[in-house]
Symmetry: C2
Subunit: 195 residues, 2 copies
């Protein structure tokens, strides 16, 4: 990796860590420059539009990570119902391992916080939710569920997953995520059986 | 109302509006003072601990409003299932009427944003979620549902409601909330029938 691309990666990695641990508003460019140990000029060189452009890059990177995790989890389980349950169990265990601090749900810092101030970031977050819905619906359909039912069930999965994550982080307790995981596996199984 | 208590109410009302439309971090005390048209000394007089104390007051006020709305909605419907559905329909219509801007879910600005920085505000938010779970569970139990099932169903209701609200605001589309509302009314009815 060249020194230049290394600086870019350091900036994006630091920004993502700060956005996810503090939120968008609380994170300033000076803190990103300082904590990434990169020259001040690098951030403005790679991200001439500043914080908004950097946040957009972090949204894309976070989504790529999530999509890969969805694919891997679904590939490792026989049914989509089991995959969804495992995905949320993993989220619950990660939240617990972090002490329920140091990370915010994607839906928090990106979706809601930035949606209020930037149409570009709002649209990027909307596309992320659409991709999550698409991949879950695709796997439900592979299990034999009709498209309309699969898309509705996938929307419920991402809504409940994000809401339960927020309550788990607030309560510093993984039970809301575990309850959601067990419930959603039943929902996904029932959708299949009703075909 | 005396001039003094009026200043306090103006400060709390302005702070709540700003916290709910911009979030906690983005709202500064100077903006609250300016937009409430109150003397600078008033804010520090009524809230000597500053922003954190003011946010705590706003969390309590928002919760009192929500609890009253829960009670009114449940009182106006024969079953808790119908009440839950109506409550979320109302939320969806309010979100649409506001153009999906100008308000953030309670879970956003209070629960997650402040949980990262203040143990006092995190605990206050946790108590709010507990009160919502309690009131929903209480009404499910009045419909004849056993306590454990009622509490689990109530937790799913608040998780799905908060998650769907975030996705509706991000997408600027009330469909995620409507899907959640219809689904939850079925969940609540099924919980009753399985007794």
């Amino acid at each position: 990796m060249s020194e230049k691309s290394n600086a870019r990666d350091l900036i994006v990695g630091t920004a993502a860590r700060l956005f996810f641990s503090q939120g968008y508003h609380a994170t300033g460019l000076n803190q990103i420059i300082k904590e990434s140990n990169t020259p001040k000029g690098s951030l403005y060189h790679y991200f001439p539009q500043g914080k908004e452009e950097l946040a957009h890059e972090c949204i894309q990177a976070a989504n790529a990570h999530m999509m890969q995790k969805f694919e891997e989890t679904f590939a490792a389980h026989e049914t989509t119902a089991e995959g969804i349950q495992q995905f949320i169990y993993d989220t619950a265990n990660e939240a617990e391992a972090s002490g329920y601090t140091g990370f915010m749900p994607f839906s928090f810092w990106a979706a809601v916080e930035t949606s209020c101030i930037s149409q570009q970031l709002r649209t990027a977050s909307q596309n992320v939710f659409a991709e999550w819905q698409d991949i879950i619906a695709k796997h439900l359909m592979l299990d034999g569920i009709a498209e309309e039912k699969a898309r509705e069930t996938a929307l419920l999965v991402i809504s409940l997953m994000e809401g339960a994550l927020i309550i788990s982080l607030t309560n510093q307790d993984k039970q809301p995520l575990l309850t959601a995981a067990d419930y959603l596996s039943v929902v996904a199984r029932n959708a299949e059986q009703k075909q």
